[in-house]
């Protein structure tokens, strides 16, 4: 083993560099191998190459989607509004339900660390691990088809992210205002309202707006499993092979997301 007091000779340096390069090369080879194996197993073996046909055939398939179904547009207004509302109410509901998780999930305010903190972390992980489509399926079976299931699905999916980020915000607060309010004889409630909340609320609001924007995107597909909104229209257009209709629905979704992005940009600027 190299004696730390002895400086490395040039030969040592060259040897170490070679070794490092060797390891890197080895990892690279393994990665390429994985890729090739994966490509072989998934793409090449699994694909029905007959059905796809040639590149020209693919081009023809894609061409079917070009075009807008104008007749569809009036009927899109309702589902679009519904999708938007599902995203809004769902995000709000998620925030309301995650308040206890934020409380339990912040190390500096959790009431009983060995029990409440793990509960919060598990709830957050569950919420974020289950895809919104799966949540939608769960809630459709619990409360039936429609927007209600969609709202609950969005709430369940967002809960984890909002709680995790908000708990982190609470853990990172500046304790100086807390010290000041305590020093003047403030109660725990007053410390919370005057020292903690003013620091934390703008951050949480920013998180909620961020998640709301993402939820618009999520709400647009919940209809695929019957949970309301544009997803259902999308599904119907696909089933009737009305490809221009599909494109029209996608454009409607894009417009919604654009609105979300604009609102999000300006509100987050106003928050700073």
């Amino acid at each position: 083993m190299q004696d730390l007091a002895t400086p490395l000779t040039l030969d040592d340096v060259i040897r170490l560099r070679r070794k490092k390069k060797g390891v890197q090369f080895g990892i690279f080879v393994v990665l390429i191998g994985l890729v090739l194996w994966s490509v072989q197993a998934t793409v090449i073996d699994d694909t029905d190459w007959q059905r796809i046909g040639t590149l020209a055939d693919i081009g023809e398939s894609v061409a079917h989607f070009i075009g807008i179904d104008f007749a569809l547009i009036p009927g899109l207004l309702g589902p679009t509004i519904e999708t938007f509302m599902i995203a809004c109410i769902g995000t709000l509901l998620g925030l309301v339900f995650c308040v206890p998780m934020i409380w339990f999930g912040a190390l500096n305010v959790t009431p009983f660390k060995p029990v409440t903190y793990p509960i919060a972390r598990v709830a957050m992980t569950l919420s974020r691990s289950i895809h919104e489509i799966v949540w939608a399926l769960i809630f459709v079976s619990a409360v039936g088809l429609g927007a209600f299931a969609g709202i609950l699905a969005i709430a369940a999916r967002s809960l984890g992210f909002i709680a995790k980020m908000s708990a982190e915000a609470i853990e990172n607060i500046d304790h100086k205002p807390v010290e000041a309010i305590r020093a003047m004889g403030g109660s725990n409630l007053q410390v919370m309202i005057y020292a903690i909340l003013p620091q934390v609320l703008p951050v949480i609001l920013g998180i909620v707006i961020f998640e709301w924007e993402i939820n618009i995107r999520r709400s647009s597909v919940l209809g695929l499993v019957g949970a309301g909104g544009l997803g259902l229209v999308f599904f119907r257009q696909m089933n009737t092979f009305n490809y221009p209709g599909v494109t029209t629905v996608i454009i409607a979704i894009l417009m919604l997301i654009l609105i979300g992005e604009v609102v999000s940009h300006y509100s987050r600027k106003a928050l700073i």
């Binding site: 100086k176 205002p177 000041a180 020093a183 004889g185 005057y194 003013p198």
Partner: protein, 250 residues
């Protein structure tokens, strides 16, 4: 009569840690501007925070206004803290709130839960806050957010906030360490002027010996948790300073 009597005060940060204060005793009279000086790590900050029990002493006696501070239960402690105003090295303001709201928050010890939530203060409180803000020279900044102010301005908000409490004692924890020399002097002058006018004694933890000499009438010097000097400012001579600061170069 002494407003604050400290006897044999000992303190540690953690149960198994080293002892920070090793038996400090002194008295503050009600017209004093009392300074605590000493090198870094001597325990000055700890001592100031023991007075209002932001740090719990391990043993000793602290009597404020005749009340034994260490025997108070949490509720009584809160009520007592209302009468102790504290001004901090890093201002400790509520940054996102306005200057006015920060000053008004000085009355929180006197205000109940519902009124705290809705930020309802009496008209008398509001008038007092406005008057204090004018006295510290911030009448043009009342509705600005605290983080839009300069360091010197923020400390003046801190002064107004502390005085809103109508305190019987002012604690200052290195109030000028975060400010440049000219502003430091202005802030100390303001504190001295208002404390004299309102007849509030001051106990001040200060790093700059020159400022201590200029503004304070009594000084104690700490070194490594022990009291090395206790007496009127005039009697602080070079040899006492050398004793307090030991190896430090002034």
């Amino acid at each position: 009569m002494a407003i604050l009597e400290v006897e044999n005060l000992r303190a540690k940060y953690s149960a198994r840690g080293p002892e920070i204060l090793k038996g400090i005793s002194f008295e503050v009279e009600d017209n004093d501007f009392f300074a605590i000086i000493g090198p870094s790590g001597a325990g000055k900050s700890t001592l100031i925070r023991c007075i209002n029990r932001l740090i719990e002493p391990t043993s000793g006696d602290i009597r404020l206004d005749g009340t034994d501070m260490l025997s108070l239960n949490p509720r009584a402690l809160r009520r007592k803290r209302r009468h102790i105003g504290m001004i901090f090295q890093e201002f400790n303001l509520i940054n996102r709130m306005s200057v006015m709201d920060n000053v008004l928050s000085g009355r929180l010890g006197y205000v109940g839960a519902i009124r705290s939530i809705f930020r309802v203060f009496t008209n008398r409180d509001i008038q007092r806050a406005l008057e204090l803000l004018e006295r510290v020279g911030l009448q043009d900044h009342i509705d600005k957010r605290a983080d839009q102010l300069s360091g010197g301005q923020r400390q003046r908000v801190g002064i107004a906030r502390a005085l809103m409490q109508e305190p019987n004692l002012l604690l200052l924890d290195e109030p000028t360490s975060a400010l440049d020399p000219k502003i430091s002097r202005e802030v100390m002058e303001l504190i001295r002027a208002m404390a004299t006018e309102l007849k509030v004694p001051v106990l001040c933890n200060i790093h700059d010996v020159e400022l201590a000499r200029e503004f304070c009438n009594k000084i104690i010097g700490l070194q490594d948790g022990y009291k090395m000097f206790d007496g009127p400012t005039e009697t602080l001579d070079q040899s006492s300073l050398e004793e307090i600061y030991a190896m430090e170069v002034l």
